[in-house]
C-alpha cells in the first residue's frame, strides 16, 4: 500500500462557522495504480488532492504515505515529503515564466541539494522522456500548451516521486492535445509509476483503472474503470 487514508476529516473554519470539506474518508491506493478522483465542485476533491499531495494536513485522521505518517508533520517536513514523494501536474501548468524549460524541470532538484551538473543531467533525461529534448532552452511563452504541460510532467518526474498527482491536467488543452498528454500518463503508468488523476471529465477519467467518486465530502463510489 502506497497511500493509506483512514478516517480523514477536513474542517474549514470560516469565521465562527465550521465547514466540513471532507467527512470520514477511507481510501487505499496501491503502488502502480492509476486512479481517477471525480466529483462535482464542492465535493471535496480539491481538498482531498491537497491532502494526498501533502500541501495540507487533515483536521483529523491518519494519512500513511509510503509507510510514513504525514498527517501530523510540520510545514518543513511536508515540503521535504512533497519534494521526494509527490510530482504535481497542474491544470494551469504552473511553470515559472522567466525560466527555460530545462530550469523549470531542475527546480525540484534545487530544493534537495542536487549538484548543478547532476541537475542538468537529470532534467535533460526527464525532458527526453516527454519528447521535448529539442525545446529545453525555450521559455514557457515560446511553447504551445501541450508542450508546457509536457514540461510540467517532466518536472513532476524528475525526482522519481512515489506518486504523480495530476489536477485537471487537460483542462486548459484542446481535446487532441489532451489525448496526447493522457498517452504520456499511460506510458508512465506502464513503466511503473503510480498516478492519481483529479478530473471532472468522464472521458479523461476513463483512462484510469479505477474511479473514486466523491460527493459532499464522502466517497460515493469506488469502482474499476470500464475501459
Amino acid at each position: 500500500m502506497l497511500i493509506g487514508l483512514t478516517d480523514i476529516k477536513k474542517i474549514y473554519e470560516v469565521g465562527t462557522v465550521k465547514v466540513p470539506a471532507l467527512k470520514n474518508i477511507d481510501l487505499k491506493i496501491g503502488r502502480n495504480e492509476y486512479v481517477a478522483i471525480m466529483g462535482p465542485s464542492g465535493s471535496g476533491k480539491s481538498t482531498l488532492m491537497n491532502i494526498i499531495g501533502c500541501l495540507d494536513t487533515p483536521t483529523d485522521g491518519t494519512y500513511l504515505l509510503n509507510g510514513t505518517n504525514v498527517s501530523e508533520m510540520s510545514d518543513n517536513q511536508l515540503a521535504e515529503i512533497r519534494n521526494r514523494e509527490i510530482g504535481f501536474v497542474f491544470q494551469t501548468f504552473n511553470l515559472l515564466p522567466r525560466a527555460s524549460a530545462l530550469h523549470n524541470v531542475e527546480l525540484p532538484l534545487i530544493y534537495n541539494g542536487t549538484s548543478a551538473s547532476n541537475r542538468k543531467k537529470l532534467a535533460t533525461v526527464a525532458l527526453e522522456k516527454v519528447g521535448l529534448a529539442d525545446r529545453m532552452n525555450h521559455k514557457p511563452n515560446e511553447l504551445s500548451g501541450g508542450q508546457r504541460q509536457r514540461v510540467a510532467i517532466a518536472r513532476a518526474l524528475v525526482n522519481n516521486p512515489s506518486i504523480i498527482l495530476a489536477d485537471e491536467p487537460t483542462g486548459n488543452l484542446d481535446s487532441k492535445t489532451g489525448e496526447e498528454i493522457m498517452e504520456i500518463f499511460e506510458t508512465l503508468h506502464d513503466s511503473g509509476n503510480t498516478i492519481v488523476l483529479v478530473t471532472h471529465e468522464e472521458y479523461i477519467a476513463e483512462h484510469s483503472d479505477r474511479i473514486i467518486r466523491l460527493r459532499d465530502g464522502l466517497v460515493e463510489r469506488d469502482e474499476a474503470s470500464v475501459n
Binding site: 491537497n50 499531495g53 500541501l55 512533497r82 521526494r84 504535481f88 525560466a99 530544493y111 548543478a116
Partner: protein, 407 residues
C-alpha cells in the same frame, strides 16, 4: 538552498523590472555616492597633508611662536609673545641632551632671484637655517653640498636652491659655483635639491636656503625663529619634548605656573587639526547619507513587498515542489541584498568618479577610501537585510495552496 541560485533569481528579477529597480535604487545610489565622494576627497586631502607633514621626519617636533594653524585674526595673545631667537635655539641645542639634532629656521616669501639677465617670478620661498634643515624637512641634495656649521658660523653667502629656481635661472648651465643676486646681495650657489614635487598645488622646489646667520644679516633679526628638534627614537621623544619645554621656559623666563609662551608643532598637529575640521563635514555627510539610505531602505521594502505579491504564484509553485520556508526567505532576502548592493556599487562608482572629477578641475586630490568602500558595501547589505526581512518573511509564511490559487 544554494546562494548562487538565489543570486541568479534576484538578477533575473531585477533585469525583468529594470526601470522599477533603478528608480528604487536612486536613494541608495545618492546615499552611497555622497559618502564615497566626500570620503574620497577627505582621504585625498588627508593623505596629501600627511605626506607634507611627515616631511618633518620621524620623531621631529617644531617649536614656534605662533600656532601651526591660525584661523581668522591673529590672536593678541600670540602677537604679544616675545620672538624666539637663534640664541634660544642654540640654548636648546646645548642643553637638551636627549635630542639627536636641533635646527633653527626662519623664512621669507615672495623674493626674486636674479642671475645675469634672468630672474625668477617674485614668489620664491627663502629659508635661513642650520645644517639640520635637510633631515628635519626631508630634502635631499642632488648636486653640490648642503650648508655646514662653518657656513652658519661665518655667515657665508652660500645658497642651496630648488629645482624650480634652477630651471628658471640655469636652463643650460651647471648652477654650482655661480653667483645669484637677491635684493641686491650676492650669493654663491653651493648645492641643488632633488625634486620634491607639489603639495596641494604648492611647489616645494621653488626655494632658496641660506645660513640663518646670513639670512638675519640681510633680512633683519625681527623674525621669530622656528626650532626643529629631533629625538633619537620614539621612546625618547617625550623626554626630548619635556626637556625642550623646560629649557625654553627657562631661557624665556616663563614664570612658574604660567602657560608656555610658544607652540609645539608635531607631525600630528596638522592632521589633528584637519580631522577636527573635517569631523563636522563628515557628520553632516553621514547624516544626509543615512537619511537617504533610510528612505532608500523603505523604497526597497516597498518594492520587495510588490515583488512578493506579484510572485505569489511563483512562491506557491516553489513550495509545491519542495521549497521550505527558509528557502523562500533566503530567496527574497538575497534579492533585497543584491538589489541594494547593486545600488551600492553604482553609488561607489559614481562617488569615486565625482572625486576624480573634482581632482581634475581643482587642486584638491582624491583617493580611493578603501575602508569606506568596504563599509559602504557592508552597509548596503545591512539595508537590504533590514528592509528585506519583512517582505521575505511574508513570502516564506505563505500558504502553498492559497499561493497556487493566486491570480
Amino acid at each position: 538552498m544554494n546562494i548562487g541560485e538565489s543570486v541568479n533569481i534576484a538578477l533575473t528579477a531585477i533585469r525583468a523590472n529594470k526601470m522599477r529597480s533603478i528608480l528604487t535604487l536612486i536613494g541608495i545610489i545618492i546615499g552611497v555616492m555622497t559618502i564615497i565622494a566626500m570620503q574620497s576627497l577627505i582621504t585625498g586631502l588627508r593623505n596629501s597633508i600627511n605626506q607634507q607633514v611627515t616631511i618633518l621626519g620621524s620623531n621631529v617636533f617644531q617649536v614656534q611662536k605662533y600656532p601651526a594653524i591660525q584661523t581668522g585674526q591673529l590672536d593678541k595673545k600670540y602677537r604679544n609673545r616675545k620672538d624666539i631667537t637663534l640664541e634660544q635655539a642654540l640654548a636648546v641645542k646645548k642643553n637638551v641632551t636627549s635630542a639627536k639634532a636641533v635646527g633653527a629656521e626662519v623664512n621669507t616669501w615672495g623674493r626674486t632671484i636674479v642671475y645675469k639677465d634672468k630672474k625668477t617670478t617674485p614668489n620664491v620661498l627663502v629659508f635661513g637655517t642650520t645644517p639640520e634643515f635637510l633631515t628635519n624637512n626631508g630634502y635631499e641634495i642632488e648636486n653640490g653640498r648642503f650648508l655646514t656649521e662653518q657656513d652658519v658660523h661665518y655667515k657665508n653667502s652660500n645658497a642651496v636652491i630648488g629645482v624650480d629656481v634652477v630651471e628658471k635661472l640655469f636652463p643650460n648651465e651647471n648652477p654650482i659655483g655661480r653667483d645669484v643676486k637677491m635684493d641686491g646681495q650676492r650669493y654663491q650657489v653651493i648645492g641643488v635639491f632633488e625634486k620634491k614635487g607639489q603639495v596641494l598645488g604648492n611647489s616645494l622646489d621653488n626655494v632658496v636656503v641660506m645660513p640663518i646667520t646670513r639670512f638675519e644679516k640681510q633680512f633683519g633679526k625681527w623674525r621669530s625663529v622656528s626650532i626643529l628638534v629631533q629625538s633619537y627614537t620614539s621612546e625618547t621623544y617625550q623626554e626630548t619634548l619635556d626637556q625642550t619645554i623646560g629649557v625654553l621656559r627657562a631661557v624665556r623666563k616663563v614664570p612658574f605656573g604660567e602657560d608656555n609662551d610658544f607652540e609645539i608643532f608635531t607631525n600630528d598637529t596638522l592632521i589633528d587639526f584637519f580631522d577636527n575640521l573635517t569631523k563636522y563635514v563628515r557628520i553632516v555627510a553621514i547624516a544626509i547619507a543615512s537619511i537617504s539610505l533610510l528612505v532608500a531602505g523603505v523604497g526597497i521594502m516597498n518594492i520587495m513587498l510588490v515583488s512578493v505579491t506579484e510572485r505569489t504564484r511563483e512562491i506557491g509553485i516553489r513550495k509545491s515542489l519542495g521549497a521550505k520556508k527558509r528557502d523562500i526567505l533566503w530567496q527574497f532576502l538575497i534579492e533585497a541584498i543584491v538589489l541594494s548592493e547593486f545600488g551600492g556599487i553604482i553609488g561607489i562608482i559614481i562617488g569615486l568618479g565625482i572625486g576624480k572629477l573634482v581632482e581634475s578641475i581643482t587642486p584638491v586630490p582624491a583617493d580611493v577610501p578603501f575602508g569606506t568602500v568596504i563599509f559602504g558595501l557592508v552597509f548596503c547589505s545591512g539595508v537590504g537585510i533590514l528592509f528585506g526581512v519583512y517582505p521575505a518573511l511574508k513570502a516564506a509564511r505563505m500558504d502553498p495552496i492559497e499561493a497556487l490559487g493566486f491570480e
